[in-house]
Symmetry: C2
Subunit: 361 residues, 2 copies
């Protein structure tokens, strides 16, 4: 199957093998050694000298962990949103009692650093700014460096970044840009199944942790840090996902971080170029086009659901539809993790063939 959704992404054979290994004691020395290797490699991709924590959960669990460990009910938070996942991040913070000020931008556009500056100037005591790095729902990458600059220039707010579908593939030097917590998810660039969220936690985040009063148990940063310092985890971890991640990171290290980012940029450009050459129209503002996912407008008069169904049944190719208000307007092609140009060629070819069929039927 040519699985071209935005995660889970395809698994390299070596990762599949690793996932099938016999269980081990998650409190024994093999696990400790494996976790140390994983954390060590992840620091390279997060470009951080600070702590990395791993939680057994989906990416959304990682976002919830970031919120409840840094904030107290009543805290003022700015949530920058350019799509479904930006809205979700805001909703989590609000649900746990933060005073959330949404800074929303039209779907398909990126966030404007000057608008963020203005919002921060207008509000007092902003405790945290939540930003989605790569908005999966609209295939748009925010100008995070500029947004981060705006945050630090105009406030003491923590910068908390949903990097679930970007980290490892799109440039994001966590320490250099002053990202206090960044969150990613195992089923994206990391080439393993869903079930692990990985977070970097910087020194300012730990200060915030000490005063944060939102309730937390499963997500507790300190419980996890203390356990990881002993080579363990706070609660029983997804052991076979660790096996997979250990091997996936080995593959990534062998390819090299620069090469991985270059490949994602190249494959993304290839996707956009070929899609347009085949007559498709791109959805997002191309100045902020994502290097991990591309959104195409569904051609007028075409039933997007049927198109995807024909693709799946007749061409063994799975792409994503749009979400919420984009449901009948776009389709999305994931190109992250274990992907190259040939996967995209096959996908786009199948899309065109299926389209001919859908239009004729």
């Amino acid at each position: 199957m040519n699985l071209r959704i935005v995660g889970p992404t395809p698994l390299p054979p070596a990762v599949c093998e690793a996932l099938a290994r016999p269980m081990i004691n998650h409190r024994g020395p093999e696990f400790a050694a494996m976790q140390a290797r994983i954390v060590n490699s992840l620091k390279t991709y997060f470009q951080t000298a600070h702590e990395i924590l791993l939680f057994t959960c989906s990416g959304t669990g990682g976002l919830e962990a970031a919120v409840v460990n840094l904030l107290s009910p009543g805290d003022t938070v700015v949530a920058v949103s350019i799509g479904v996942f930006g809205d979700r991040f805001a909703e989590i913070a609000e649900l746990f009692g933060a005073q959330v000020h949404r800074l929303r931008f039209a779907w398909g556009s990126a966030a404007d650093p000057d608008a963020l500056r203005a919002k921060l100037d207008e509000l007092a005591n902003v405790r945290a700014v939540l930003i989605t790095h790569n908005e999966t729902s609209t295939a748009t990458t925010n100008p995070l460096q500029e947004l981060a600059r705006a945050v630090h220039e105009r406030s003491d707010a923590l910068l908390v970044v949903d990097a679930i579908s970007s980290l490892g593939a799109i440039h994001l030097p966590v320490d250099e840009w002053g990202v206090d917590v960044a969150v990613t998810g195992s089923q994206k660039v990391w080439m393993i199944p869903p079930g692990l969220a990985m977070l970097s936690v910087g020194p300012r985040a730990w200060e915030a942790y000490a005063r944060a009063k939102m309730p937390r148990f499963y997500w507790d940063f300190k419980k996890m840090r203390d356990a990881m310092a002993k080579g363990q985890t706070a609660f029983t971890p997804g052991v076979n996902l660790y096996f997979g991640l250990d091997v996936a990171l080995e593959l990534m290290n062998a390819e090299g971080f620069e090469n991985i980012r270059a490949r994602h940029a190249r494959v993304a450009q290839h996707t956009r170029d070929c899609a347009q050459a085949q007559g498709f129209e791109l959805f997002a503002n191309q100045a902020f086009a994502s290097n991990t996912v591309t959104a195409l407008k569904i051609p007028p008069g075409v039933d997007g659901k049927k198109w995807r169904e024909v693709l799946r049944k007749e061409h063994d190719t799975v792409i994503a539809g749009g979400q919420k208000e984009l449901t009948d307007k776009i389709v999305r092609i994931g190109h992250l993790g274990w992907v190259n140009e040939a996967d995209i060629d096959a996908c786009l070819h199948a899309m065109t063939a299926a389209l001919v069929y859908v239009r004729a039927s």
Copy 2:
């Protein structure tokens, strides 16, 4: 390796194969069909006609989910505790703002239904009673049927049961005993790696959900129920664990529920008999001995840590130590999931051999 901790438990080869399958779209029809099969089988083991929800997390996440979906801050809760995991359940509820009254019993004993009756008579408006069915830390199984009877006889409290290390192996008819929410974890009886928590949610629990005010997003029961009704999950699920669970349940269905429970009872009795025959002393009150784990006292003068290290290094056998105040006092042998008498014979034989070595060195 003879992995005889209390989870993760060993994986049957067919499960390993399933874990290595290529990823699929978690919002596509194959996933929906698989989830339907899984839920259908799980209902047999939970012995419930009501809803089953699956969350991507460790067992502890499942306990947190039960607490935050049923309760409001300030609610009166009785937490029955006979060990580490009973204490943890109480701690979670307290941390989210419940008024928790602990009813603790000496470690190695079971809870006394009359003491629970007295506690419920003493308190007004108890909203929930939290009980650990099988206390993994002390290898003791609570008399849940009698405890459940006490709860329903003396109160309208919800009965919330941590059945993480019992469900599927130890008799627990959820509906018949009036268990409102029961929680289990994938790495126990279910023969797959850690990373999924499975919960039954009865009608009284849904009523409680409607009025419960603890904050929840990732754990939200309704979000999950609504998504599962569409063959999906609220957030990206641990897809490869679902592959494994689907196959593991097929194996379990082929063996038959009665046979599985009988096997666990038989292997547990075998463990206790052989351990005693080899001169070991059992830790727990044997009237309440667990059928999934056995705790042995560390013989006087023996360094338990060294004993387990020799076992691991020289005999490729891994057993669990004690937790908290039992750290240097007991070791624990897990006998749940994919286990038979021969695994126990090999383990006990190795334990005796290692003991001779540790004593001599």
